[in-house]
């Protein structure tokens, strides 16, 4: 019988702890599949964040080293400078990369560090119980914006990937989404482009992934996927914002 699907070897054979409908489970698998398809399982080093995905090291079957909250880009810089031929990626939430880790991320991009940031934007702080994120959209009710996010009080949702795209050391910057199967498949292609930019030595790469958090949004999983499509994409347009040509990037 023809085998049409199996678990990627870059994931350990353990069930995810993530909530039903959470985007992390989908995204972990996509990242792991790309690592396997690029034959990088034994050369990959991942840096999980503080937050729900800190436990990513329980799932990825590659070397994983924890970073303090927000410091992923600095930790990855240290690893990559010592081991320049490895695939080094961070896996960070919106608060991690675009609030507490803003400086580390922007300066890693500006140095053109050959690392990849996988940036999961679910518009909320998940693990701490649903507080406002830098990417919470205007009007969004969270546990710390009970009246809805108001720009005069809480500022605006930040389009961080567009910021990173403007930085000279960034080789690849794209935003994608997990809200339907077509976009899931597209996300995988984009992750591969980002890893290729890194392994081609082109510079910093970032992939922002719009991802549902049904638990903290207090929605059913199907409704949460719709909310990504209807609300988040309006504020966070999908697309490739920067792609430096050269190396294996031109495919």
């Amino acid at each position: 019988m023809k085998k049409v699907f199996s678990r990627t070897k870059a994931l350990k054979p353990v069930p995810f702890h993530y909530c039903p409908g959470c985007g992390h489970s989908i995204l972990h698998r996509l990242v792991a599949e790309v690592i396997e398809e690029m034959d990088l399982i034994d050369r990959a080093i991942g840096v999980p964040p503080a937050g729900c995905a800190v436990l990513a090291y329980n799932y990825f079957d590659v070397d994983m080293g924890e970073a303090p909250h927000g410091r992923g880009a600095a930790v990855a810089t240290g690893i990559k400078r010592v081991l320049p031929d490895r695939l080094v990626f961070t896996y960070q939430g919106d608060g991690d990369i675009a609030a507490i880790g803003t400086a580390e991320t922007i300066h890693a991009a500006n140095r053109g560090e050959k690392i990849t940031a996988i940036f999961v934007n679910n518009a909320v702080y998940g693990m701490t119980g649903g507080q406002m994120a830098p990417t919470s959209i205007l009007g969004q009710v969270t546990t710390t914006t009970p009246r809805g996010r108001d720009s005069s009080r809480e500022g605006f949702p930040i389009n961080f990937t567009e910021v990173l795209a403007r930085i000279k050391g960034t080789a690849y910057a794209a935003r994608t989404s997990l809200h339907d199967p077509a976009h899931v498949l597209k996300t995988k292609r984009i992750l591969r482009k980002a890893f290729e930019a890194q392994m081609g030595g082109l510079g910093f790469s970032v992939v922002e992934v719009l991802s549902p958090c049904p638990t903290n949004w207090k929605m059913s999983p199907p409704r949460a996927f719709e909310w990504v499509k209807e609300e988040m994409v309006k504020h966070y347009p999908l697309g490739v914002f920067k792609e430096i040509e050269g190396g294996s990037l031109a495919d």
Binding site: V62, G65, E66, A74, I79, H107
Partner: protein
């Protein structure tokens, strides 16, 4: 040890000693009074195939150190008090993850921005664990440029042996003064101890995890006790101290680093005037040489004076060592004030005299 003596300032000498110990990665952010150390590394490291990176903050620097350490490198950073405060998060994580690295703190007057004068105001932060959680770091306090070289060279081996952060604790005096030094030989990188815990990619072995998150309370407790057992081993194996003119001393000065250097001059001066005073100099501030100091009391010394360039911090460790038995005096000079040996000798003479008359 090379035969040749070189006249070198402390910061350069520490940088060169680190490179000779096998350090090939330096991450740091400028702050006075140690800017010549990153400057030296930016020049010297590329000559030996190493990497220098000026980070955007001390917060980033220590996390780059954390990453490079995970990847198995001998790595260092350096800073001064306010910058070291920013690094405390990373130092705590490195303790939890059992990562090795060498960190240099050229202390200044504080709190806050303070000043850039020689001070020892970070003793508590260095020895009590300035970051959060149950942890320790080895603290080495040189009092000359040669000793800064020797301790830096040794620090990398200690860091690797115990999988700990080793802090070199100096000040603007140690950093800036020029003295003749002899350097130990260049360690070939292939001779450095191998590490079986680093993240290098899971080639031909199972994948590895380096983390400090341990959600299960029983596992976390076991991890804490494991760290404690390691720290107890360090306490048994690593205390270093110097004894100077203690044989017939009526009074013992306890001082470290720059303060000890000045105290040594003052002891010699007081001795010439017949004042029987000696010096006990802790070289490791953690582990503190408690037993050696207690031994002096047991040998009959009943008056101790703690001289330190802060408002009185090491005196707490001296109290732990000596208990309530002997007379314990403090001569504390915070704020970057550095008394000269003449002034200090007068203080010692007066204290010995008042001891005799009391």
């Amino acid at each position: 040890m090379s035969e040749e003596l070189e006249l070198m300032r402390g910061t350069y000498a520490i940088g060169e000693a680190a490179i000779r110990a096998g350090c090939r990665y330096y991450f740091g952010y400028p702050i006075t009074p140690q800017n010549e150390l990153p400057e030296y590394m930016s020049r010297r490291l590329p000559e030996v195939g190493g990497t220098f990176l000026q980070s955007e903050s001390e917060l980033a620097a220590i996390n780059m150190v954390l990453g490079a350490s995970m990847a198995g490198a001998r790595v260092m950073t350096s800073s001064s008090s306010p910058g070291i405060s920013l690094m405390q998060e990373g130092l705590s994580f490195m303790a939890g993850q059992e990562l090795s690295a060498v960190v240099v703190n050229m202390m200044r007057g504080g709190p806050g921005l303070g000043n850039i004068a020689p001070s020892q105001s970070d003793y508590f932060q260095a020895t009590r664990g300035g970051g959060h959680g149950d942890y320790r770091q080895i603290v080495l306090a040189p009092s000359s440029v040669q000793e800064a070289v020797d301790l830096t060279y040794r620090a990398f081996d200690l860091a690797d042996k115990y999988r700990m952060v080793v802090l070199i604790l100096g000040d603007g005096m140690v950093a800036q003064m020029m003295e003749p030094v002899r350097f130990p030989p260049m360690r070939p990188l292939e001779d450095l101890p191998s590490k079986n815990w680093t993240l290098t990619g899971a080639k031909g072995r199972p994948s590895r995890i380096l983390r400090s998150l341990i959600l299960d309370v029983n596992d976390m407790e076991e991890h804490n006790w494991k760290l404690v057992r390691k720290y107890q081993q360090v306490e048994r194996e690593c205390p270093l101290w110097e004894e100077f003119m203690l044989e017939d001393a009526e009074m013992v000065v306890v001082a470290f680093g720059t303060a000890a250097r000045i105290a040594k001059g003052a002891v010699k001066r007081a001795r010439k005037e017949g004042v029987k005073v000696g010096l006990f100099r802790p070289i490791t501030l953690w582990p503190f040489p408690f037993q050696a100091l207690r031994g002096l009391y047991q040998r009959g010394v009943d008056t101790f004076v703690v001289f330190e360039l802060n408002a009185g911090q090491m005196i707490e460790d001296v109290k732990i060592a000596l208990g309530n038995g002997p007379q314990l005096l403090s001569y504390a000079r915070p704020g970057g004030v550095v008394p000269n040996p003449q002034e200090l000798a007068r203080v010692f003479s007066r204290l010995v005299l008042s001891r005799r008359t009391s």
